[in-house]
Amino acid sequence: MPNSDLFGRKHTAYEMLWKYMDLSDYIIAAARYGGPLAFMRDSSRLIVLGRGVPAISKSEIRIYSSVGEGLLVFTWEHCKIIRFGWTHDERLAVLNEEGVYRIYDLQGDYEQFSLGNDAGEMGIIDARIHEHGLVALTGGLTLLEVKGWEGGKPLALANPGISEPPTAWTAIPPDQTISRHVEVLLSSEATIISVDTLESTDQRISRGPFTHLTASPNGKMLALLTFSGVLWVVSTDFQQSRLEFDTNSQAVEGAVEGGVRQVEWCGNDAILVTWDGLAVLVGPLGDCLRYFYPGSVHAVSEIDGVRIVSTGTCDFLEKVPAPIFSIFKPGSTSPGAVLYDACDLYERRSPKSDEHIRSIRPELASAVDECIDAASREWDPYWQRRLLNAAKFGRSFLDLYNPVDFVAMGQALKVLNAVRFYTVGIPITYIQYTHQSPSHLISRLTARALHLLALRVSTHLGLKPDAVLKHWACAKIARSKVPTASSGASASESGDNEICKLIVEKFNSLGRGDVSYADIAKRAWDVGRAGLATQLLDHESRAADQVPLLLTMKEDKLALTKAVDSGDTDLIYHVLLHLHKRLPLGNFFRLIEEGGPRLSLASRLLQVYAREQNRDMLRDFYYSDDRRLESAILALDEATGMTDGGAKVTSVKAAQKFLSEDKEHAFEAKMMDESVRLLTFQQQLEKDAPTLGPFVGLSINDTIKNCIVNGMSRKADKIKSDWKVPDKRFWYLKLQALTDMADFEALDVFAKSKRSPIGYEPFVRLLLEKGHQREAISYVARCDANRRIDLYVECDDWRSAGKECKERNNKARLEELRRTCPNTLIVRELDQIAASMA
């Protein structure tokens, strides 16, 4: 090894199962975390036929596991594939030049989405696919981003403003950028342009153009390779330059021809540069290690290393992990190393073991931890076991030690060894495993249809087996024989029963009844087994999952009932709107009406919706159900919003008609009759006196007041008699109107016209309130005798109040007045009155 700290460890995970393949003939996309590899013919290369190797035909895409076992082959018959890559859940996304992309799972089922018409017209010339989305470069040299794999709407990024396709580019996924939005780096001419959703920034670099441009797995660093072969490592914000390294010398020393094929990160701090037949690992300080291969290789960057797939092997190359290094470094005296030695000596029955343990007594706990940690980094079960044994040995000398880590590590290693076994072929490291979470690993296993293993792993780790069971059931249904039409209905039914029973039993025994049946039922429906779907759906407890499928199965009534029972109004709307679209209006109404009180919630919701959005439908709905009252209210509601008098009358008349058809609402009908009369009367008023402002729509009270204020008291009297306005109310109204006008003469005439039905106190009060104190006093004398004193006080007329006391001979009250009055002047006057009383 060269004179530096770079220690590499190359572990040959597998000897490939495939027969001879020249990797240089293919375009390869590999999934991270030891995932599968997708192969496609590189149409720009000639390949030699007839060497006994079945070459992949031009339109084929093949998927191999890391051990070289074929997982899937499918043909692609659309236009040219631009790019393919893996999603986080190990599905293969394939994008063609028309902007259409498909996402294949490992069973060959796919979903298809499109980047939209614009993209289709411009054409897609390149794309970068990351785990949670893709960025496409269009023919117009603009960028489109798709977030997630649910067919989300493509979002245009800022225009990079380049005139030629970039020589190299990359997209940094949103979860690794500071802004949490995707960032694209394009090498254009001598510089790099970074683009996000908002803006495109020229980084003003002058050493380009670059042939390779790769971001580290954590998105913090960037590796660039110039045309002259200089590898330059810089932080993604271009603030810190970390390393410059001339690769040409390596190529010369390694005696390889041709250019650099790949620049890939090995973990976050080393870089692998590959040529045909040579891979060079460049460390953070510019030190390097060389590895030779026969033929070309394909390197896959991982978060803690790099996977190198060659014709014959699948290797995992990493910097030697720190715990391993500290234990196994020759001459190491770290606690872990001493503990490991002690254990080794103990097994060889050497008394020195005890001496070793004593020497690290204070750090024993950390030594145990180190051994456990080291075990996690080992590929070979032999070394794993040895290290764990050392940990166990050390632990026995500790009084208090929490064994959780130890146990968990044992479990994890068992799982890892199982999935690394060549029949499964997932060369995943412990770090990747914890980074991705165990449940993700389980879902990867299920995606490969390894249900039994997945189930065992999830039970071993104490995880819920739902997902596995669900996937299993779907596969079961898909694979079970569809009964042929000739074998008759009964046969198909018994077949359905059998499968349903099988699934339900399995779920109950393993899934603790927690598994959702809706997805499975949907699967059954998709493969054309309606009977089975219905049966399965009966077991589903969540309405939100049940209802959509019921709708597709045209079980309208059931869907609506289930939705109403769930209480989720949104779900009910979903059903209602769906049915409204699909069914003829009559049938739709009947469905709701026949539901009776059980579906009343649906009926009410439909009315709420229709009132805002579709009044004609609501009118029809009420009409078809003979709901006269509601029809009337609807008509009135419309009348309120109208400004045109004539239209208003028509609407109110319509309401009146609806009401009159119903005996129970005779009173309301009569009222509406009055309303129509009033509206016509008001229209007439407006016609007669167009200057006096609008009358239509006013209440009787306001009409009367308006008439009086505008000097049409005759009209007011007419309204009073025609609409039988009670005397009391009329008096109040006239009082208010006249006071508002401050027409005190008219008020006086009115007050004297006859005995007031409301008394005269309201006169006093209202006048006071409006600030006409003097006029108010004049009415106090007409009020009830025993109220007069108080009223005078309220009018601030203390003398009259005093006089009133005298008349009523109420000395006590007078005394009280004297006490509460505001100033001495009044006190004196009151004293005089008091004196005169005596």
Binding site: T569, L577, M671, V725, P762, E769, G771, E794
Partner: protein, 676 residues
């Protein structure tokens, strides 16, 4: 009992409360997530009904920090925004969604306008209805639709609210149960935070529906983090739907905060007051502001001046207002006296500066000065507010409506009350006042004679306009049937029985009570202080579950008789009774059965039968305090909150957390019936 002990105990009680600020943090954090999901500067368009609640969760600076450039109301008409990103935040109501669609369409059609990226956040969740309307309007492809899950917002440390004003109307007038579903979701969040409710008690059909949803949903969600263990902090959830107690909101609230709400309106804890009341105190002599009740005439003119003055919003929360805690739940009759007492105390405190002789003493005084000024400011505000209220409570209409209410509650001479209502109509009383009285009359007397009712309706239609007919029809036909003719076959509210059995009306005739009223301690005697003689039915129902002694017995201070098993021996040292464990409706099944709607009593999963000694008595002996969550489905009034707080003070070992869909009062309720 010396005053100091009272304050210390209440302080401890506060410490026992559930920490509701967690909920605020939750809402705040998800708001930040929502804002951050759109990159770069953005224009925020808010629906007015969400702005208030949002203000309780986050301040404007927080929005600015997360890229909000400008804010607009969601109003019909064109929208001009300078930023590329436009973010809409609204409830999924059809009218709002239509405005959004309209604005987007305008942008697309006008060739000159800038290209925008639209994001629509719906509160609390994405609705099919909204996406459907966007689809019908042809703009669904233009925008991204997502959810902002705003649920309970703490208004005070013991009140959390969804601040959804429309809940009552939607549930009981429109028949749209979205609010029930959303409430269930919000309560589930509560369970996620504090643990499962060990027991759920409820009254009313919709309450029953809510509880059923709560029971059902956990089995439906597959979220593993949902803790299935019963909460050790909460001993029960009591759900009351508003239909069970329509009576209380119809009455005029008489507590300070309640009256402010009735007269001036409190919206999302904000009240609009004349700006002058909020100016910092300029006069260091507090004596000048302490005049409690000026003569009616003078202040009436003062009022008209102040109306013209600029109004300003002021948050009415105990967090920022040191005096509010003492004032808000008092009967308004006692507020004046309390204010002058506070004023005197403040004066004393200010005077203490004169006594300060040494530098050290002066330093102590200066240290207190900030607090004093805060109190001074707050005192000025409340004195001003009371001055605004006093003339309003002296009007004829107000007083006769109060009198009618009291008479109707004690079922005294109903025909006379009905004609008094007619007189009010003649006098031109506000429509809502009149409608509330008619509804009250109908509820308390089991329906009004058809002829009389028709006459009243005619008067209403003529006075307020014939377009009020839908209102009258709604009142008569909705499930609440507040407007029933006495010959109608519909189920009637058994007011008289309920009144007797639940002691809804408490006579204040006895001299001891009068004496205590004078001493300002009336609120210590019974719940009924909140409405000057009427104990809110809703609070009584809560008592039936959680403070059984309070319903049956004479007021607590007087004797411990009838406090049942719980009261025995415990309450001796400070006059407060220890809370008994929750045992459902036990003892009150009969009277609760009389009320309309279903009665629910669900024991949570886990221990099967409730062990009667779980909760406060078994855990931690005498010092453990549990919280009972009371959820008002359809809204609650400030007076009811006052009642609940009164109950909190009465018992040791139990606090009440009031949860509601929103704050309401009778006027809002009537407005709900009006609109279709």
């Amino acid at each position: 009992m010396p005053a100091s002990t009272i304050t210390t105990t209440t302080h401890d009680d506060r410490a026992d409360m559930l920490d509701t600020s967690l909920l605020k943090e939750l809402a705040r954090r998800s708001l930040i997530d929502v804002l951050n999901s759109v990159n770069g500067p953005k224009t925020l368009v808010l629906d007015p009904s969400i702005a208030g609640p949002l203000g309780l969760v986050a301040e404007v600076s927080l929005l600015k920090d997360h890229g909000v450039d400008k804010m607009f109301w969601l109003e019909s008409g064109p929208l001009t925004a300078s930023t590329v990103n436009i973010v809409y935040l609204c409830r999924p109501l059809i009218k709002y969604v239509k405005i959004v669609a309209d604005q987007i369409k305008r942008h697309i059609q006008s060739p000159t306008s800038q290209r925008h990226t639209y994001t629509l956040f719906l509160v609390p969740r994405v609705s099919t209805l909204a996406t459907r309307i966007l689809e019908e309007e042809g703009v669904l492809g233009e925008l991204t639709v997502a959810a902002y899950n705003l649920q309970f917002i703490p208004l005070e440390e013991d009140v959390i609210s969804m601040e959804y004003e429309g809940a009552f109307k939607e549930i009981w007038v429109d028949g749209d149960e979205t609010a029930i579903y959303d409430s269930a979701q919000a309560l589930l969040t509560l369970q996620r935070v504090y643990g499962m409710f060990p027991r759920m008690v409820g009254q009313g059909d919709k309450a029953a529906r809510l509880i059923r949803l709560l029971k059902k949903v956990p089995s439906q969600t597959h979220t593993p983090q949902l803790s299935q263990t019963s909460s050790d902090k909460i001993d029960a959830l009591i759900v009351l739907d508003r239909q069970t107690d329509l009576l209380t909101p119809l009455l005029t609230q008489l507590t300070y905060e309640g009256l402010v709400d009735e007269m001036l309106g409190i919206k999302n804890t904000n009240v609009e007051v004349p700006a002058s009341l909020l100016a910092p105190p300029t006069n260091p002599d507090p004596g000048a502001t302490a005049s409690s009740s000026p003569s009616a005439g003078a202040s009436a003119t003062g009022l008209s001046k102040e109306v013209k003055e600029k109004k300003k919003k002021h948050p009415l929360t105990a967090g920022t207002d040191p005096l509010l805690r003492e004032l808000r739940d008092l009967n308004f009759a006692h507020v004046g006296r309390k204010l002058s007492k506070i004023a005197r105390r403040l004066e004393e405190d200010y005077k203490s500066r004169l006594k300060a002789k040494t530098v050290a003493q002066l330093k102590v005084f200066v240290g207190k000065l900030g607090g004093l000024q805060g109190e001074h400011q707050s005192l000025k505000l409340h004195t001003g507010l009371s001055e605004l209220l006093v003339p309003l409570t002296r009007t004829d209409i107000f007083n006769s409506s109060l009198e009618i209410q009291q008479n109707l509650l004690s079922s005294y001479d109903i025909p006379a009350q009905l004609s008094a209502i007619e007189d009010l109509i003649a006098q031109g009383a506000p429509q809502n006042t009149v409608m509330r009285l008619i509804c009250l009359a109908s509820l308390t007397s089991g329906g009004i004679k058809p002829k009389v009712l028709e006459n009243l309706k005619r008067e209403v239609l003529q006075s307020y306009g014939y377009d009020r007919l839908p209102l009258l029809l709604n009142l008569g036909s909705s499930p609440c049937s507040l407007f029933t003719p006495s010959n109608s076959p519909a189920l009637k509210f058994p007011y008289t029985q309920v009144r007797k059995q639940l002691r809804l009306v408490v006579e204040e005739s006895d001299p001891v009570a009068a004496a205590e009223v004078d001493a300002g301690r009336a609120e210590d005697r019974d719940l009924s202080y909140t409405y000057s003689g009427y104990a809110p039915l809703s609070c009584r129902l809560v008592q039936c579950v959680a403070q059984k002694g309070g319903v049956l017995a004479l007021p607590v201070g007087k004797s411990g008789v009838g406090n049942g098993d719980a009261g025995a021996g415990a309450g001796a040292e400070d006059g407060r009774v220890r809370a008994h464990p929750i045992m459902g409706w036990k003892g009150f099944e009969d009277v609760v059965g009389l009320l309309p709607g279903e009665t629910v009593d669900e024991v949570g999963d886990g221990d099967g039968e409730p062990s009667p000694i779980r909760g406060s008595l078994s855990l931690g002996g005498t010092h453990a305090t549990t919280t009972t969550v009371v959820f008002f489905l359809g809204g609650c009034t400030f007076s009811e909150i006052a009642g609940m707080r009164w109950m909190s003070r009465q018992t040791k070992g139990r606090r009440y957390l009031i949860a509601t869909t929103g704050m309401m009062n009778g006027n809002g309720m009537m407005d709900g019936f009006r609109g279709t």
